[in-house]
């Protein structure tokens, strides 16, 4: 069996048949089936997604220190890499912690994406091709071909409202995870990134069947909910305090312990500097503040002290 055959067997066929069965049990409504399957898949991957978000967040919190290392060992790349790895190890943060869950999830998303496209099968060539993916369950055969209408939508064609919804929800999700910054150049870069993805996906939504847009909107809403549960509204609301989920403590405590251990070594900026300070560290711009004591843990740090500057550090 070739790779395509294996992919069909382990990914496409299960997803396609599940979609058809869900449609049958959800009042022959394919739109509801897409929403249900997206939620089921998101739910099944919840631990991975959670791990990924937490790891990303922890990585984000370590950025000031990494920036400092980069600055200090700018001329010695090897040493910098060593120190960086050491820092990761001591903090209990693995860069793979962000990537691995994403890599595991990717084939599942692609399978879901491809399956929705295939099950929509509007033209004869596609419907005939769908036959090769079906299990011999009577319910599957009696449900097909599926009705492509959901609310006001023809799920097989693009829809402007859904495109806006995809773009909007993606923007909200991105904004929530975005680290705030007051550095103008960093701000420009961030806002560029903030807009590119939503615009790109909104454009794609217009080009693809709206069944896919339902999948994207549902996924985005799920992620927004998850982000909110983990970190509150994040960058979406300026004054919003960050929700601190208990499980984040694992990373934070380790980071804090590294900080404690490194108080004698002022080369590393304490993690309490958090995201706001990243821009300064990366850009090398002078902070508007200087001096002050370092807090014991990230939670001891108040927003005012972040900006007001209570960190003492030695520039490399």
């Amino acid at each position: 069996m070739d790779i395509g055959g294996i992919w069909n067997l382990i990914a496409m066929q299960p997803v396609i048949n599940t979609l058809v069965v869900l449609t049958h049990f959800l009042f022959n409504n394919f739109g509801l089936a897409i929403i249900a399957l997206t939620l089921i898949v998101n739910g099944a991957m919840f631990p991975l997604t959670l791990k990924q978000i937490r790891a990303s967040k922890a990585m984000q919190e370590m950025q000031p220190k990494i920036a400092e290392l980069k600055k200090k060992y700018a001329k010695d790349k090897e040493k910098m890499a060593r120190e960086q790895m050491k820092l990761y190890k001591e903090s209990g943060v693995s860069p793979a912690g962000c990537l691995l869950p994403m890599l595991i999830q990717m084939p599942i998303w692609i399978a879901l994406f491809q399956s929705i496209m295939r099950v929509l099968a509007v033209i004869p060539e596609n419907l005939a091709g769908l036959s090769q993916y079906l299990y011999s369950w009577p319910v599957v055969y009696s449900a097909l071909p599926l009705n492509n209408h959901f609310l006001w939508l023809n799920l097989a064609t693009g829809d402007i409202f859904l495109a806006l919804l995809v773009g909007g929800t993606m923007w909200v999700q991105q904004k929530m995870v975005m680290a705030p910054t007051i550095d103008p150049s960093q701000k420009t870069q961030s806002s560029l990134m903030l807009w590119i993805m939503p615009i790109m996906f909104a454009w794609l939504t217009l080009s693809f069947p709206s069944g896919l847009a339902i999948f994207w909107v549902t996924s985005n809403l799920f992620r927004i909910g998850l982000q909110y549960w983990i970190g509150g509204w994040g960058g979406l609301v300026k004054s919003s305090p960050k929700r601190d989920n208990g499980r984040d403590k694992k990373y934070k405590q380790r980071i804090a312990s590294v900080e404690k251990a490194s108080t004698g070594d002022a080369d590393i900026v304490p993690s309490s500097a958090q995201e706001e300070d990243l821009s300064y560290e990366e850009s090398g711009d002078k902070r508007p503040d200087s001096g002050g004591g370092s807090p014991k843990s990230p939670r001891d740090t108040k927003p005012k002290s972040r900006r007001g500057g209570s960190h003492r550090r030695k520039r490399g």
């Binding site: 491809q114 295939r118 033209i123 060539e125 005939a128 090769q132 097909l144």
Partner: protein, 387 residues
Amino acid sequence: MRIRKKALAGKISLLIVLLLVGLVAVGCTGIRGSPEGGTGATVADGTVFLSPSLKQAGGFGCSSPAVEGKLVSVSAETGVQRWEVPLGGAAPSGGFGCSSGATPVAVYGNPTLFEDLVYVAGYNGKVYALNSESGALRWVYPREGNMDPIVSGVVAALDKLFFGCADGNVYALDAATGDMLWEFATEDKIWSTPVIDGGTLYLASFDKKLYALNAADGTLKWEFDAEGAFASTPLVYNGTIYIGALDRNFYAINAADGTKKWEFKAEKWFWTKAVAFEGTVYVGCFDDKVYAFNALSGEKVAEFDLESPVRSWPVLAEDRVFVATEEGKIYTIDMVNNQLGLFADLGETIYAPLSLSDGVLYVYTQKQNLHAFNATSGVRLWNQPIN
């Protein structure tokens, strides 16, 4: 500053890569964005009529096919083209991005001849009547605008034209003028080509029903409920209708009252029309097999594994049935002793119905080639690209 620009460029590159990966993922599905069509050959008076398939430009989800389909007339003897007529009047799809522009005029149902006219129905929701000699357009239905896509073929009988439409209706038009005479509504799309026998029109719909209508006025005689939708075309043979469905059943239904005589369950869908010869019914299936049944009892007489789905309609030639598989092999089944033989291996995908006329087998492939074979000797007489 340079570092920051590099970082930004890196992020944008990453986004582009992600987008490309996504597009590749879509492209790898082999899902077509637009209808391809491609009919079998209809042969009359030394002329072959067909509508070629539309080739896609390739690429990923956004492949764009040639929008304009056409009807082509070629010499049955040499394959040389006599005329071709573009089928215009494409309906705007109303979509955006990839789906923008006009709906391609793909044609699925074989052209139909009646008196001096040749008829075709397009996926753009129009029916065309052209002079079979010159290709001059006589009329088009509807004159303004477009109907929903038409996948069904057109049937001409009793001075009328009959065809099903994706709007769920079957229409009867005046064959000479194109005026609508009556319509009959089903509850879902119709892709199946209707069949007329005597004064009765039989049509199958996605609504899982087979209907028998009075061809004269479209009134319902009876309806038969199946477990799944119908995409295939019925065969009427000795007072029985034989038709396969997407529920994997092949049904034998009494043509007089719509009662079921027998059914057979296969592994996959039935898409193609059956043929019958001397009390045996032959039908191809998406499970790669051709089944032979006793027409009366439904007892399976034989099955032939062709190792590829059968989508194309088979044809009968004396005591043999010709069957083509999707992967491009043409087989013969000797109906006297039920022996399978390989007739030709074209290596080109075959979806269109096979045609046989005056001992010549015509095969149109999705590679846009029309092949003509001597049905007895298997010698290829000619092949002609029709695109």
